[in-house]
Symmetry: C2
Subunit: 175 residues, 2 copies
């Protein structure tokens, strides 16, 4: 995690891990089959952290505000762990590791449950996917630096966008 934060995904090599642990280059092989296994393990931890962040935000939110609170938490988590987030959602390498997929699904379900609870059955699938895409897109754009914005206001901006898109009451003048 430290290496990831300091040098990004490309800097996360088996040898770098060994160095960080002040241990020989071969030592990591005692614990992981190969590099992919180590990356998968790190990404799994990342999903667990995301799940916890979403869950905590949901529980702490006022009634009716849970979904927006999750959106803010999602974006914040990505912004605070950019390299980790990229690793989690990056290459399709992960398909192989069931543990990773399970952790990803668990995190996803926190968001899904909240959306489902507030949506009519006939448009549920679209809305769940839409909410996920919205927060994921915001997160991606923020940590790729495509949105010029001082870090302090990320929460505020996320909240405004999420409320505007998710809670709108029609007749906004569009379409």
């Amino acid at each position: 995690m430290q290496i990831l934060a300091e040098t990004g995904v490309d800097g996360l090599s088996l040898r770098a891990v060994a160095r960080r642990a002040s241990v020989s280059a071969m030592a990591p092989y005692r614990h992981y089959a190969d590099k992919e296994a180590l990356l998968a393990a790190v990404a799994t931890k990342g999903f667990e952290g995301l799940r916890l962040a979403l869950h905590t935000a949901d529980a702490a939110a006022g009634p009716g505000d849970e979904l927006v609170a999750q959106a803010v938490a999602y974006v914040r988590y990505a912004y605070e762990h950019p390299a980790l987030f990229r690793l989690m959602f990056g290459p399709s390498r992960l398909c192989q590791h069931p543990e990773l997929n399970a952790a990803g699904d668990t995190a996803y379900q926190v968001l899904e449950a909240r959306v489902t609870a507030g949506t009519a059955p006939e448009s549920r699938d679209e809305r769940v996917l839409g909410c996920w895409a919205l927060v994921h897109g915001l997160a991606s754009l923020f940590l790729d630096g495509r949105i010029k914005e001082d870090a302090g206001s990320i929460d505020t901006l996320t909240r405004r966008v999420a409320e505007n898109i998710l809670n709108r009451k029609s007749s906004n003048g569009d379409k």
Copy 2:
């Protein structure tokens, strides 16, 4: 572009480019200062392609359907050029290259103009960002394989989600 499509971002090395051009390893330096310059040039081309795709979709759409048509085009472009898309939005390396940023802005403006045209002034910024995040998120999730879906139905699914989230008329039962 070919190399990118075949081997991904990691496979796009100066030497690979030289090999593909049946030319010595040093030849690329005649045309690009270093590797970063080459990557930036490729990404710039990618943004130009995205801009064209958005513009074409907008022009071909029926009245009132332009925004959703752009959403479909955005996601489709990403899905058809996964490695290129990742390079375009990947590392923050790009900040340095003004050409790249200009190309990115130009593509962005196509979407921005359409959203702005259909939104009341007071919520414009949030809505533009929200639309961008939605399509970008959908694109990211699709090409990371996080949405299990046969490729043929990507357009359909994107359309359904975009219509549900962007065109909803309130009283959907939520919140």
